[in-house]
């Protein structure tokens, strides 16, 4: 496969107004990733999928990464090509912040394999994917409020029900019920 540097150059030529960046990977044997401009993500994804030399038709792994210190959440897509049998090309999208602007474009219209995985990111990380056909919680139940995979998630202190609570569980239960009383 072409190097990510080459792909970056070709993308910049094809989408001159899009801001695309090459992010280095600390692991020397692994490829760097491309940080895409969310406004152009769908067009770039379609380009990568249809380009004759790349044909990245297999978006295998789609996941989120929370970076509380840096102040954003990432969606990471690992792209391979089943036709050309090469890959991976890693593309990333970043939200503007972690609470008020957590909207990213959905790439499900391009790669159907992102369908359930973007729903999972929405559920566990709280990124809202615009253009996703069916954005609902998937692993947690519908009434659940928080996003458990975020780094600053605090588990509720009364989830651990024991018929005869003792030690730290008992302590937590007492604190919980005294707070709620």
């Amino acid at each position: 496969m072409e190097t990510p540097e080459n792909i970056l150059a070709r993308l910049q030529a094809a989408f001159p107004s899009a801001k695309i960046e090459l992010l280095p990977n600390g692991c020397p044997s692994q490829p760097p990733s491309l940080l895409l401009d969310p406004a152009f993500a769908c067009e770039i994804a379609t380009f990568l999928k249809n380009d004759a030399a790349l044909r990245l038709d297999h978006a295998t792994n789609v996941t989120g990464v929370d970076w509380p210190k840096e102040g954003y959440i990432e969606a990471v897509y690992h792209l391979f090509s089943m036709e050309k049998k090469h890959g991976p090309l890693i593309i990333r999208l970043r939200t503007a912040n972690r609470d008020t602007a957590v909207v990213l474009p959905s790439l499900t219209p391009v790669w159907r394999s992102a369908d359930l995985q973007e729903r999972e990111i929405f559920d566990l990380f709280g990124i809202k994917f615009e253009g996703h056909p069916d954005l609902r919680r998937i692993l947690m139940w519908d009434g659940f409020k928080d996003h458990p995979m975020r780094k600053d998630y605090v588990a509720p202190d009364d989830f651990e029900y024991e018929p005869t609570a003792h030690d730290d569980v008992l302590e937590r239960a007492q604190q919980h019920f005294s707070k709620n009383a």
């Binding site: 295998t60 992102a114 998937i138």
Partner: protein, 385 residues
């Protein structure tokens, strides 16, 4: 015509020239035996036809990925056993492979052969059980599944004598394997293999030409190749749709490039092809195993550089993937130099293979949906994580 005593529904039906039907919503699972665990489908039926099918996930969710971020790299290995609990050696391998790429380790020759032997035995276990479960789901009560389980026992005995556990093997380590093969273990593998070819012949005589199995699976749940690729379907389900994509060939991870096996490809992408591809894969696995048992060298089983307990990879990220019996099992790790990963993500094949379940079932009956789900081959430990 006097319609004064008819209900509105009967009038509607008479105008359409037939009996009236009503839409019926069926909550299929999570405690239905043919959902292979705690999987649920919200099915809407019109008469017997499925007009909508929504999978409902999460009944076995324990946030495996969050747990992984709070334990050490070594501590994750036993958790990966619980992903696909029928095939724990391959789950081990996927994770260990990703860590080895991250830390720059390489397993020595002997360990590589042991890995291939365990992974292919696992493939035999998984595919045999899948065929048994599928027949059970189609109403062949008992016999095929018991035959499958009888053979699985022999392989689990091998796992037990090597690792101490029948299912949760916790055996692969970064840069090798936990312990060397016990005396006479390879002869045990050869004995199992000798019996296995005969068993497969018998199993196929029982199932493959069976008229009921053919009627229930041929032309049912057809998945077209382009949709399968776009939806990220991997493993035997993808190959049954006619796409030649096997990571043992494409990535040739480990030492798979040394084994001249064939990749079975289906033609129609229906339930029967998905069944048949697995039967043929088992025959190829037997060939791989025979060669591995013949060629395995003596030597160390751990990379001399490997520090199993105190592994702390430098900051960086890696995606490692293997061909597990169910499809592409990937592990995405982000290291930050600490003893546990910053991000630990599993790409579960059973979960993603369910993406187009609805498309495969539309217009068919509930009984067909059971066959389709059985032929996709899911394990809920991996779907819900």
């Amino acid at each position: 015509m006097d319609t004064s005593f008819s209900s509105q529904k009967e009038i509607d039906a008479r105008e359409r020239g037939g009996l009236g039907t009503e839409r019926l919503e069926v909550a299929f699972g999570p405690h239905h035996p043919s959902t292979h665990g705690v999987f649920r489908m919200d099915v809407v039926l019109e008469g017997e036809k499925i007009v909508s099918l929504k999978p409902v996930f999460g009944y076995l969710h324990r946030n495996h990925e969050k747990i992984g971020e709070s334990v050490s790299y070594l501590g994750i290995i036993p958790y990966t056993d619980r992903l696909d609990y029928l095939c724990s050696p391959t789950s081990n391998w996927g994770f260990v492979l990703a860590c080895e790429k991250l830390a720059g380790l390489e397993a020595p020759e002997r360990a590589q052969y042991i890995r291939v032997i365990l992974a292919e035995l696992t493939r035999l276990v998984n595919h045999t059980c899948l065929a048994g479960f599928l027949a059970q789901d189609l109403g062949a009560m008992g016999t095929p599944l018991m035959y499958a389980f009888r053979e699985r026992e022999n392989i689990l005995d091998l796992f037990e004598s090597l690792t101490g556990a029948r299912m949760m093997v916790n055996y692969f380590r970064f840069g090798g394997c936990r312990c060397d093969l016990p005396e006479g273990w390879l002869q045990g593998v050869s004995r199992v293999l000798d019996a296995y070819s005969k068993f497969l012949d018998e199993f196929e005589a029982l199932l493959t030409g069976n008229e009921i199995l053919l009627q229930r699976t041929q032309g049912v749940g057809v998945l077209k190749a382009d949709l399968a690729i776009n939806a990220g379907i991997t493993g035997p389900c993808l190959r049954a749709s006619g796409v030649n994509y096997d990571l043992r060939k494409v990535d040739a991870y480990g030492i798979y490039s040394r084994f001249p096996f064939r990749v079975p490809i289906g033609e129609h992408g229906d339930c029967f092809d998905r069944y048949m591809v697995r039967i043929l894969e088992m025959r190829e696995s037997i060939g791989i195993l025979r060669q591995a048992v013949r060629e395995i060298p003596a030597g160390p089983i751990m990379d001399a550089k490997a520090k199993t307990r105190s592994i702390r990879p430098k900051a960086g990220e890696v995606y490692g993937r293997i061909e597990s019996p169910k499809g592409e099992l990937g592990f995405y790790l982000i290291a930050d130099g600490s003893p546990s990963p910053y991000r630990y993500r599993i790409r579960p094949p059973s979960f993603i293979n369910l993406t187009v379940l609805e498309e495969m079932c539309l217009g068919l009956t509930v009984a067909d949906a059971v066959a389709i789900l059985g032929s996709i081959d899911i394990v809920l430990g991996e779907v819900d994580r």
